[in-house]
C-alpha cells in the first residue's frame, strides 16, 4: 500500500525538454492514466517512476503505509513494469515466464520453491490462463500475452504497477478485460500508472490523469476534472467535443 509523490520533476534528453516542474500525488488504490501525443514523455515518466532513469531535478517519493519512504531506484523488485514492446524468450512456457516474476523473492543461488510455484498457479487461474500454462509465449495471442505479462508483474506482488500502453494493440474485448483487471487490482489497494494514446481510455478507466504535451505544461488531477474538449484540442492538436451518451462521456473527434 503506497502513495506516490512526484515533486517538481524536471527531465530532459539532450536538446529536448520533456518534463518541466511536474508535481502530482497518487494515493493507495488508484489508477492514474498518462495521456499525450507521441513523444510527449509518457514512457519517460514511467521510466522515472521505475527508477531506471533519474530526473534532472525534483524527486519521486514512494511512501509505504508504515511511514517508510524511498526513491524508486531503491525499491528493487517492488515495482511491476510492463514495457510497451517487450523482448521475451518466445520459447518459454507461460508458467516459466510468470515464475521469473518471483525473482525478488528467490535467493541468488536458489530456484523457485513450492510457495513460488503456488503463487504462479494462483495467478494463472486468476487471470484465466489455465489452458495456456504450458504454451509457449510465441504461440499465444496478443491479448493472452498481455494477461501473461501482467501475471508476471503480479508475481512480484508489487504495490506499484507501471504499464506502458498496455492496450494499444488489443481488440476491444481484450482491452475491456485488461482494464477490468486493472480495476480489480486497484480495488486490492495497488497503485497503478498506465499510459495510453487514447484519451477515451483515460476517461473510462482511470481515477487520476496526467496530460502531457511537449510544448505545453503538464496538467494533473482527477480525470473527470481535467479532461475537457478545450484541453484535448490543445494537447492533441485535434478538434474534439465531449458528449454524454447513456450517462457515459464520449469523445468525438472532428
Amino acid at each position: 500500500m503506497t502513495k506516490i509523490e512526484i515533486k517538481n520533476l524536471n527531465f530532459s534528453y539532450p536538446g529536448r525538454e520533456i518534463l518541466q516542474d511536474l508535481s502530482f500525488e497518487a494515493g493507495t488504490g488508484s489508477i492514474t492514466a498518462l495521456i499525450g501525443v507521441n513523444g510527449s514523455g509518457k514512457t519517460t515518466l514511467l521510466l522515472l517512476l521505475l527508477g531506471l532513469i533519474q530526473p534532472d531535478s525534483g524527486e519521486i517519493i514512494i511512501r509505504s503505509n508504515d511511514g517508510e519512504s524511498f526513491k524508486p531506484e531503491q525499491s528493487a523488485g517492488k515495482i511491476g513494469y510492463l514495457p510497451q514492446i517487450e523482448r521475451f524468450p518466445s520459447d518459454f512456457s507461460v508458467k516459466d515466464y510468470i515464475l521469473l516474476g518471483r525473482l525478488p523473492f528467490i535467493g541468488f543461488f536458489s530456484s523457485p520453491t513450492v510457495r513460488d510455484l503456488n503463487v504462479a498457479d494462483l495467478l494463472i487461474s486468476k487471470l484465466q490462463l489455465d489452458e495456456l500454462s504450458s504454451c509457449r509465449l510465441g504461440e499465444i495471442s496478443g491479448g493472452e500475452l498481455q494477461r501473461v505479462r501482467i501475471a508476471r508483474a503480479l508475481a512480484q506482488n508489487p504495490d506499484l504497477i507501471l504499464l506502458d500502453e498496455p492496450t494499444t494493440h488489443l481488440d476491444i474485448s481484450h482491452k475491456k478485460g485488461i482494464y477490468q483487471l486493472l480495476s480489480e487490482l486497484r480495488d486490492e489497494g495497488r497503485t497503478i500508472f498506465y499510459s495510453t494514446h487514447d484519451p477515451m481510455d483515460a476517461l473510462k478507466h482511470s481515477d487520476n490523469c496526467i496530460m502531457l504535451n511537449d510544448k505545453l505544461p503538464a496538467i494533473t488531477g482527477k480525470t473527470q476534472n481535467i479532461i475537457d474538449a478545450k484541453r484535448l484540442s490543445a494537447y492533441f492538436h485535434v478538434e474534439t467535443e465531449i458528449l454524454e451518451v447513456n450517462k457515459q462521456k464520449v469523445i468525438l473527434y472532428k
Binding site: E73, G77, R87, F88, D96, S111
Partner: protein, 323 residues
C-alpha cells in the same frame, strides 16, 4: 528432465570407458589383457585417462560458457569468445611463443592473463562510454576482439615460419594432446568452482533473457550481477583455452541442441547441454588421437562436425525461419 540428464550422463560414462580402451596402441580388448600387460595399463592411466578427462571437462566448460553467453546476449549465435576472449588468449599465447622461447608455462599464463585483460577492457569501454548494457557489451566485445585479432595477425607475420608460426597455428586450432594429470588438476581448480557456480545459478540465469527494463523492475538493476556472470563465463573459457588452445564450435552449437532437446529454460537444459558438450568434445578428441598416426588438431573436427550440426539445426528449425 531428470531422466534426460541421467540418460546422457550414462552415455557419457560409457563413451568415456570405451575411449579408454581405444588408442593407436590397441583397440578395446578384455580386462585380462590389462593384468598381463602393465604397459597398456600405464598407457591408459597416464596417457588416455587424463586426456579423456580433459576433453570432457573442456567440453562441459566451453558449452556452459557458450550457453551463458547465448542467454545473456539473447543471441543463439553467441559463442564463448564473443567478448574477445579467444582472440586475446591467442594473442597472449603467440607472444609467449615469439618472445619467451615458447616456454609452456608462459604461454599458459599469458593466454589466460590476456583474456582476462580483454574482459576488463570490454567492461571498461562499456562503463566509460556509458553504452546501453547488452548492446554496449556486444560492441565493446567486437572492438576488443578486433584489436587482439589485429595484434595476433601482426605476431603471426613476425613469427619465424619454421619454428614459431606452425606452433602458433597449431595452438590456434586447439589440441588436447598435451593433457596430463597435472594440467588436469590445475584445470579443475579453476573450472570446478565456476561450473558449480553456474549449476546453482541456473534458474536465475534465465532472468537475463528478459527485457532489460523488466529485469530492472525485478531488482537486477546494478550491473554487478551481469558483470559477475560474464566474468565467470570468461574465466571458465580462458582456463580452458590456456590449456587446450582455441577450440571452436563447441560453445556455439551444443547449447542450441540443448535447447532443442531439453527446452529453453536453463534450469533444465544447461546441465543437459553441458553433458552433451562433454560427449561431443570427447568424441572429437578420440578422432584426433586415433584416426591417423599423426595428431590432428581437434579444432578441425569440431568445425567439421559442428558445421554439419549447424546446418541440421537450421533444417530442424526451418518453420521458424520461414514464418
Amino acid at each position: 528432465m531428470k531422466n534426460k540428464n541421467t540418460a546422457l550422463l550414462i552415455c557419457l560414462f560409457l563413451i568415456a570407458v570405451i575411449s579408454a580402451g581405444l588408442g593407436r596402441y590397441s583397440l578395446f580388448s578384455d580386462f585380462a589383457e590389462l593384468r598381463e600387460n602393465p604397459f597398456l595399463a600405464d598407457l591408459i592411466l597416464d596417457l588416455r585417462l587424463p586426456r579423456i578427462a580433459t576433453a570432457v571437462l573442456a567440453g562441459i566448460s566451453l558449452t556452459i560458457a557458450g550457453y551463458v553467453m547465448q542467454t545473456v546476449f539473447k543471441n543463439p549465435l553467441a559463442d564463448p569468445g564473443v567478448m574477445g576472449v579467444s582472440q586475446a588468449a591467442g594473442f597472449g599465447a603467440a607472444l609467449g611463443i615469439l618472445y619467451f622461447g615458447q616456454s609452456p608455462l608462459i604461454i599458459k599464463v599469458f593466454s589466460f592473463g590476456f583474456s582476462l585483460l580483454a574482459l576488463f577492457l570490454v567492461i571498461l569501454f562499456t562503463s566509460r562510454l556509458k553504452l546501453k548494457r547488452i548492446l554496449g557489451l556486444v560492441l565493446a566485445g567486437i572492438a576488443v576482439s578486433a584489436l587482439f585479432s589485429a595484434g595476433l595477425g601482426l605476431l603471426k607475420y613476425l613469427a619465424d615460419p619454421i619454428d614459431q608460426l606452425p606452433n602458433i597455428v597449431f595452438w590456434l586450432l586447439g589440441s588436447i594432446s598435451g593433457a596430463n594429470w597435472n594440467s588436469f588438476y590445475l584445470l579443475t581448480l579453476i573450472t570446478f568452482p565456476l561450473i558449480i557456480f553456474f549449476f546453482i545459478y541456473r534458474w536465475r540465469l534465465n532472468v537475463h533473457m528478459l527485457d532489460e527494463k523488466v529485469t530492472f523492475s525485478l531488482g537486477i538493476g546494478k550491473s554487478w550481477e551481469l558483470n559477475l556472470v560474464l566474468a565467470a563465463a570468461v574465466l571458465l573459457t580462458s582456463a580452458i583455452i590456456s590449456t587446450t588452445g582455441i577450440i571452436g564450435w563447441v560453445g556455439l552449437i551444443i547449447p542450441n541442441y540443448g535447447h532443442l532437446i531439453a527446452g529453453p529454460h536453463a534450469a533444465r537444459s544447461m546441465v543437459f547441454s553441458g553433458i552433451a558438450g562433454g560427449i561431443f568434445l570427447l568424441i572429437c578428441d578420440d578422432l584426433s588421437r586415433i584416426l591417423l598416426p599423426g595428431e590432428i588438431p581437434i579444432g578441425i573436427f569440431t568445425a567439421f562436425i559442428g558445421s554439419f550440426l549447424f546446418v541440421l539445426l537450421f533444417w530442424k528449425k526451418r518453420d521458424f525461419l520461414y514464418s
